[in-house]
Each structure stands twice: as structure tokens, then as C-alpha cells.
């Protein structure tokens, strides 16, 4: 599903952020990406989300080489990804429904189908009935679940989550993690960047550890 082969990322002013990264993530596999702040977690996720391009090496996503890709193709490839952020990145002037529907509208899905899939997606994160609410009227945990609903509504092949539980209390964090485990059973691969070691240990999935840009455990 996702393969890194000798991937390097160097920033002109900040030096090498990632050095010779090699790993594989298969279909339906869930893995944690961990390491201290500045170890390169965010950089690695940005490479997969095509927000940055790697300096050297090859990144394969679902059979496509995304390390060298034209700007025009990026939108279509991003539709295979579900992105989840620590700060949720919701549009506060739009309803929950409109937020979750955005990836579908962007892909040109017709109206009835959008409505059906948004409701199915909200059902999965137990937010059915809150479609008409605005994000700021929801609790932090609920906002993150809206973010998750938005990430899964397009049936992505890979979900990337950047510190998804960073702003949530332990109870909510565990709840969110269980949601991710469910997606995994549907054949979606999940890669979660976090430094919540305790949670990682408790769940017992594969862990990729970064240290100063090197992958030290996989």
C-alpha cells in the first residue's frame, strides 16, 4: 500500500530532516509513527500527503510513485488519502454536514450520494443527528470525530493522522483509537503519528520510531 525506499528530505535552511527512510505499510495495516518533537514525524506525513516533495528516494502509494508528481495530478491522488489533524482543521463557518461532505463535493459526487455517505460516515463516529451543528458548538472530542468522519467519507485507502489525540483527554483518546482499529478491519491502512507512548503500548500495534531523521525501529 505504502512503501518508502531510501527517502531523504533536506530543507535548504534547516538541513536534513529525514535520512534514508525505508519501510512498508500493507493494506489494512495499522501502525504508529513516534519519536520526539523534531524527529521528522510531520515531515514524513507531509511527504505522503504530497504537501512536500522528498529530495531523494521513491515513495509508492497504491502502486503510484508520488515522490515525483506533477501539481496537476496531486488533487486526484489526495482523494485516496484521509487526513486527520491535531487541530481538526474544520471550517467553522460551515455545518458538520458541509464539513464532512467537502471531500465528496470536491470529487464531483452527486447530491443524493453525498447525503447518503455523509450520514453513513457520521454514523460511524456516532455523530448522527449533529449534521446541522457548527463545529464551534461541539466539544473537542466531537470536533475531532467530525474530522475523522471527513477523513473516511471518501473511503480512502490510507488514513494519515497527525497527533489525533493531542488535544483530547485519555478517555476520548482511547475512544478515537478504537475507531481507527475499526477502519483497519475494513481494509484501510492507518498511519498515526503520536508521542503518547502509553497508548501505543496498550494497543500493541506496529511502531515506527524516528530519531533525528533516522528510522530506528520498525
Amino acid at each position: 500500500m505504502l512503501r518508502f525506499e531510501h527517502v531523504y528530505k533536506r530543507y535548504p535552511d534547516a538541513g536534513e530532516a529525514l535520512t534514508d527512510i525505508n519501510f512498508d505499510l500493507s493494506k489494512g495495516e495499522m501502525a504508529f509513527l513516534t519519536g520526539r518533537s523534531g524527529a521528522g514525524k510531520s515531515t514524513l506525513l507531509k511527504l505522503i500527503a504530497m504537501m512536500e516533495q522528498c529530495t531523494r528516494g521513491t515513495i509508492m502509494l497504491d502502486g503510484q510513485n508520488i515522490s515525483r508528481i506533477s501539481d496537476r495530478k496531486i488533487p486526484y491522488l489526495r482523494r485516496n488519502l484521509g487526513l486527520i489533524f491535531q487541530d481538526y482543521k474544520l471550517l467553522n463557518d460551515r455545518t458538520v454536514f458541509d464539513n464532512v461532505a467537502l471531500p465528496l463535493i470536491v470529487s464531483g459526487i452527486n447530491h443524493q450520494e453525498v447525503s447518503r455517505r455523509v450520514r453513513a460516515s457520521l454514523d460511524k463516529v456516532s455523530l448522527l443527528g449533529k449534521e446541522k451543528k457548527y463545529p464551534l458548538h461541539l466539544s473537542g472530542g466531537e470536533q475531532q470525530r467530525v474530522g475523522i468522519a471527513r477523513a473516511i467519507v471518501n473511503k480512502p485507502k490510507l488514513i494519515l493522522a497527525d497527533e489525533p489525540t493531542g488535544n483530547l483527554d485519555p478517555g476520548l483518546s482511547a475512544e478515537v483509537m478504537h475507531m481507527f482499529e475499526e477502519f483497519k478491519y475494513n481494509g484501510t491502512s492507518v498511519l498515526i503519528a503520536t508521542h503518547d507512548i502509553e497508548l501505543i503500548n496498550r494497543l500493541g500495534h506496529r511502531v515506527l520510531t524516528l530519531d533525528k531523521g533516522h528510522l530506528i525501529a520498525s
Binding site: A49, M51, P75, R78, L81, L83, V106, N110, H111, N154
Partner: protein
């Protein structure tokens, strides 16, 4: 031969899918069209200010255009005629004048000849100039008799006209000859300059409309950059992202164009009655021209076109700069 069922089914579903995609695309456009209008009404003050500035610029250009159009209508009636006026010497009697006119009728180059006696000239002048009362105070009639000669159409080159003019000047009864064309030409040249000036001013104001809209869209883009980031992250194409902004630019131009038309029409209505009064004072059939239907359409089209152009330019440049972090 019948196609296998599975292929037909496949084609059917492909067709359905395309139709669905197309419907979604149209819906997306319709949504862009109306939601951008809704967005403008949500910040009524800002929108009104921008539209007003645009409308003033457009109505200046359109106003100049219609003023020149009206003056052209006035001079346009005076078709470039080659009519010559032969002013006769003061001592020529009416009967001698008439005799000369009859002779000129036989001239191979003349098409039509009209003799105007001193008295007729005076009567006409009294009736049309508005100096009627004052003129009665004069002891003698200062106006000369005139023979108007309309040359044949075959004589349209300036050389021919000048030759004929020189010939008429040689006649002992004639004081001097004037060709009407000369002052019409001068007038038409002035009008040519005026319409060029209107074109240049309109060009500048068109640039203004383009840049004002572009800047408004730039601010709007800055205001909504989170939305742009997030849309990019969930796989929106550039075309999708810029669509609502382009529609926003379109509405600004369209509404400004319509407002400009209103402004011009109201201004013309304000000057209409004094112009009419002036026109009757001069016994003229002049009627103030308003913007016609096609000119109105052209105004809307130009205004919205320039606004969309300005928005597109800014989006083209700025959307590439806005990269999700």
C-alpha cells in the same frame, strides 16, 4: 448482432456515471454562482463600496461614450455633402441672380441649384436665429443673395470640387464661394479626436475595473485561506477552488455594470428636459439618445468580463502561492 448483456450493462453504468458526474458538475457551478452572491450580501457594506467604485468607473466610461454618441448624432445628420454656396455681390438684383441660377442649372457638373434671395435669407434667419426682433431694427438687409449648387455625385474628389469652386469664383456676379464640406470635415475631425479620447479613457477605466476587482478577490482569498488549504488537502483541483472566487468577481462586475447603466440613465434623464428645450429653441429635431438594448448588454458583458479577468489573474498567481502547511 446483439451485444453481450454484461457489456451493455457496463456501458449503461458508465453512461449513468458520466451523466451523474455532469449533473454534479452543473450543480457545483450553480452552487458557486449563488453561494458567491450570498457571500456578497453577507458583507453588504464592503460589497456595496466595491460595487460603487466599479460602477462609477464604468459609468464614467459609458457616460463619455453616450455624450460623444449624442454629439455625433448631431453632426451625423450633416452628411458630408459637397454643397457649395455662391454668395453674390451686393449689387446683383434678384432677377439677375435668378438668371445666373438658371444658367448654372445647365452646367454639366451641377445636380441641383437653388436661388435664395436677400429677402428669403433674411426671413429664414429671422425665423431660426432667435434674433427676429433685433433684426427688424436694421435699416438695410446685410445678407447677400445666395445660389446653392449641389454638384453631381461623380465629382467626389477634392481636386474636382476645388476646380469647380475656382470656376464659380471667376463669375463676375459672385463675391465668394464656400464649400459646406470644409467645416463638416473639421467638425468630423474634432469628433474623431473626441471618440479616440473616449476610447483611451475607457481603456484606462477598464484597467481600473480589472485591478479593483482583482484586489477585492485577493482580499477575499486571504480571508478564506483556511478554506483553500483544507479544500486542497481533501483533493480539490485548482479549478474547483477558484470557481467560487471567479463567480464572486463575475457578480461584482455584473452588478457594477448594471448600476453604471442606472447611473448613466438617471444622468441623461436629468439633462433630458433642458436639452429638449435647447433643441426646440434651435428648431432642431435633436433627440437625446439613451443607451440602447445592445449597448446595455455590451456594458454588462464588458463589466463582468473585465471583473472575471481581474479575478482570474489574481487567482492564477496567488493560488499557487497558497500551499497547505
Amino acid at each position: 448482432m446483439k451485444k453481450p448483456k454484461t457489456i451493455r450493462k457496463h456501458q449503461q453504468s458508465l453512461k449513468d456515471k458520466l451523466v451523474e458526474k455532469f449533473e454534479a458538475y452543473l450543480l457545483n457551478h450553480a452552487h458557486g454562482l449563488f453561494s458567491s452572491l450570498g457571500r456578497l450580501t453577507r458583507t453588504p457594506f464592503t460589497s456595496a463600496m466595491t460595487i460603487l467604485v466599479l460602477a462609477v468607473a464604468i459609468s464614467l466610461a459609458g457616460g463619455f461614450y453616450i455624450v460623444v454618441g449624442n454629439i455625433q448624432q448631431l453632426t451625423g445628420n450633416l452628411e458630408a455633402s459637397n454643397q457649395m454656396s455662391l454668395f453674390l455681390k451686393d449689387n446683383i438684383t434678384d432677377s439677375a441672380g435668378q438668371k445666373l441660377a438658371d444658367q448654372l442649372k445647365q452646367h454639366p457638373s451641377s445636380e441641383a441649384v437653388k436661388f435664395i434671395t436677400k429677402k428669403q435669407a433674411m426671413d429664414e434667419f429671422k425665423a431660426n436665429s432667435g434674433f427676429g426682433e433685433a433684426l427688424t431694427a436694421l435699416d438695410t438687409n446685410p445678407l447677400p443673395s445666395v445660389i446653392q449648387v449641389q454638384p453631381k455625385n461623380s465629382l467626389d474628389s477634392n481636386d474636382d470640387i476645388e476646380k469647380l469652386m475656382a470656376e464659380f469664383k471667376q463669375l463676375p456676379q459672385v463675391d465668394f464661394v464656400q464649400v459646406d464640406m470644409q467645416w463638416i470635415e473639421r467638425m468630423q475631425t474634432i469628433m474623431l479626436i473626441a471618440s479616440r479620447a473616449v476610447f483611451l479613457v475607457s481603456l484606462l477605466l477598464g484597467f481600473a475595473v480589472t485591478f479593483i476587482t482583482g484586489n477585492t478577490i485577493r482580499l477575499e482569498l486571504h480571508h478564506r485561506r483556511d478554506e483553500v488549504y483544507i479544500s486542497k488537502l481533501v483533493g480539490a483541483t485548482l479549478a474547483f477552488i477558484q470557481r467560487p472566487f471567479l463567480y464572486c468577481g463575475f457578480w461584482l462586475g455584473f452588478i457594477a455594470g448594471f448600476s453604471a447603466w442606472l447611473i448613466i440613465t438617471i444622468m441623461l434623464l436629468i439633462v433630458e428636459s433642458p436639452v429638449e428645450k435647447l433643441s426646440t429653441l434651435y428648431n432642431s429635431a435633436f433627440e437625446l439618445q439613451f443607451l440602447g438594448f445592445f449597448e446595455f448588454l455590451a456594458l454588462l458583458l464588458l463589466a463582468s468580463g473585465l471583473a472575471v479577468l481581474g479575478s482570474w489573474g489574481v487567482l492564477h498567481y496567488q493560488l499557487r502561492q497558497l500551499k497547505p502547511q
